[in-house]
């Protein structure tokens, strides 16, 4: 009787959690001259109502990345749903550059929907793209994001990252001196969060595998920090390290065959690389100072890491297989520089920068050829930068109103958006690769 009651309470709290915990996006800074686009509500040919409004999803996607401004629906002079209903003049009067229209068909008694969309360049009076996407009614959000990808690429020439996802850590107080830690996955905009792992002990450093299917992370569930790999879809997991002392910072090589990590089994934290097929462990750095936060250069041949061997954290680089003393220092002009990762160009280095003794930590990009530095964030406790698969934005953890939140910024610093959590502290985002 009492156990049945508990079960019901448990169910309620889970449902409550799913509704409350969704991160909802806020644009905190847009560009001055966004591209005007009209996204006409998609008609539902077979009648009825769907839980998701595809046109609204596309509109939100495009506005969130700051490049676009969507026309208000109430200002539209017509609501075309296919090409023959489009009059370019109507949209030119409204000063729109682009137009998206579409229609949805659902066969009666079927869960399958067909979404037809068409995308037009108003000034050149041509259709730029159009196709019919088929999926389940539960995939309307995915279909919307797929359309956003096409539009973004048509207009900017850069593939859209709207179907990408995020991994992140949430911690929540669960009574005095106790916390609950969760590894969660959500759409890039914070929608549809899912719990991949929940623990009473800390979870850290989620890293998305290049295949998009696995995640490596650190869990303290045994009382000690150990590295695990988990399949995201099945939940199947395995512990892959059990060395004495710190086992941390797992990061996949670009080809997915190796994991860079930090082990302090020989006294102080050093960088190691473990081959995931042979399980062979290779030591990369050897220094009594702290060496940590490894990342791979885009070609997979070098490891970038942070070391405090000169007294304060600075960024270094070492070729895989090189002697441990054969390292190159990359940063000189900051009091502390940490948690670095190259952009795909291999020249621009995203990192966490503490400029002076003052304890301000911000996200910055250093061009290692010109030595030019762009500081991208303006808050004071910024950390854990992670790059979008199209290289256009960086998501990172920061504090807002005393709570951990995720902020994103475009690599030119012009656009910012925030994913505030309504529950707990959110941190350590890892942006997925392109997912198929």
């Amino acid at each position: 009787m009492s156990s049945r009651y508990l079960f019901i309470i448990g169910l309620i709290s889970i449902l409550h959690f799913n509704v409350e915990a969704e991160l909802s996006i806020q644009i905190t800074q847009g560009i001055d001259d966004p591209i005007p686009i009209a996204v006409v509500p998609f008609s539902i040919e077979t009648g009825g109502i769907f839980s998701e409004d595809i046109a609204e999803i596309v509109k939100n996607d495009l506005e969130q990345v700051g490049e676009f401004r969507a026309l208000s629906r109430s200002n539209m002079l017509s609501l075309p749903t296919e090409e023959r209903e489009v009059f370019y003049r109507d949209w030119r009067i409204l000063a729109q550059d682009y137009l998206l229209i579409g229609r949805i068909n659902q066969q009666s008694g079927s869960q399958l929907v067909q979404v037809q969309y068409e995308f037009f360049d108003i000034n050149r009076e041509i259709k730029l793209a159009g196709e019919v996407l088929t999926g389940s009614v539960t995939q309307l959000r995915d279909i919307g994001h797929t359309i956003s990808n096409v539009i973004f690429e048509q207009v900017t020439g850069i593939p859209g990252a709207f179907t990408s996802q995020l991994l992140y850590i949430v911690s929540e107080s669960a009574g005095p001196q106790t916390s609950l830690f969760r590894l969660e996955k959500a759409d890039y905009d914070g929608a549809r969060p899912q719990v991949l792992l929940e623990s009473g002990e800390p979870i850290m450093s989620p890293s998305w595998a290049p295949n998009g299917q696995d995640v490596a992370y650190v869990s303290f569930e045994t009382g000690l920090p150990r590295i695990y790999i988990q399949n995201i879809a099945s939940g199947q997991r395995r512990q892959i390290t059990n060395y004495p002392n710190i086992n941390s910072s797992p990061v996949w090589s670009p080809d997915g065959t190796k994991l860079a990590m930090v082990l302090s089994k020989d006294g102080s934290p050093d960088i190691y690389v473990q081959d995931l097929n042979s399980n062979q462990l290779m030591r990369v750095t050897d220094h009594p100072g702290i060496d940590t936060e490894p990342s791979w250069t885009p070609d997979g041949r070098n490891i970038v890491f942070m070391s405090d061997r000169t007294g304060q954290p600075q960024i270094y680089q070492i070729a895989l297989g090189a002697n441990s003393y054969d390292i190159e220092r990359l940063t000189y002009d900051c009091f502390q520089c940490a948690k670095a990762q190259f952009l795909p160009d291999g020249v621009n280095l995203v990192h966490v920068r503490r400029e002076t003794r003052q304890a301000l930590y911000q996200i910055a990009i250093l061009n290692i050829e010109t030595l030019r530095v762009i500081t991208l964030s303006s808050t004071s406790l910024d950390e854990s930068p992670s790059l979008a698969p199209n290289g256009s934005m960086i998501i990172y953890g920061t504090k807002f109103n005393g709570k951990g939140v995720l902020d994103a910024v475009s690599i030119d610093g012009r656009v910012k958006f925030r994913l505030p959590s309504t529950q707990g502290d959110v941190r350590e985002p890892s942006w997925s690769p392109f997912l198929n």
């Binding site: 830690f181 850290m204 303290f220 920090p225 710190i246 502390q336």
Partner: protein, 176 residues
């Protein structure tokens, strides 16, 4: 200050010894309590007086007992070395481990949230290792001590105040 205190302690010790010699056990406990009062005025940590029931504890034992009750040690920002003021207390912990070879402890290192998480994980370990090495130098066996760093993951106090930060930079001794 220190010298004056020692005078009181010595005086108290003398009194205790005198009463002990006189086998006047009913009042010796009272005198012991007053000795505790005077010696605790500098450390500020409250004594529960547990274990004083035997009535035969030496000053050294009393100080050791009090020292062993302090299990959390706080650190300065970006500093891995324990504070000089904690040296004496940590010495008592080390001697206690040396004298009780079956005793096992865990040193849990922590950092405040400023700085990157992985660096703080390493910093927490460095802090705990500093105490580990001090314990070993003072007679504890390596096998008695497990070290784990939680970095900034388990703050004692949440928030972005200096007060919270100072509570979070710590090493805790946890009996196993």
């Amino acid at each position: 200050m220190r010298i004056q205190l020692n005078k009181y302690i010595r005086a108290g010790f003398l009194l205790v010894s005198l009463f002990a010699l006189g086998a006047c056990s009913s009042t010796s406990e009272m005198e012991e309590e007053s000795a505790i009062e005077s010696s605790s005025s500098s450390s500020g940590s409250a004594s529960t007086g547990s274990g004083s029931s035997s009535g035969q504890l030496t000053q050294e034992q009393i100080r050791a007992q009090r020292a062993l009750q302090q299990t959390v040690f706080y650190f300065d920002f970006d500093v891995a070395e324990f504070k000089p003021g904690d040296r004496e207390t940590l010495t008592f912990h080390a001697r206690d481990l040396a004298a009780n070879s079956s005793k096992r402890i865990r040193l849990e290192g922590h950092a405040d949230e400023r700085g990157t998480r992985e660096y703080n994980l390493a910093l927490g370990e460095r802090r705990a290792n500093g105490i580990l090495n001090y314990f070993i130098v003072n007679g504890a066996a390596r096998s008695q001590i497990e070290v784990v760093s939680y970095g900034e993951e388990r703050p004692e106090q949440t928030g972005q105040s200096d007060q919270a930060y100072s509570r979070n930079r710590r090493v805790e001794i946890v009996a196993q």
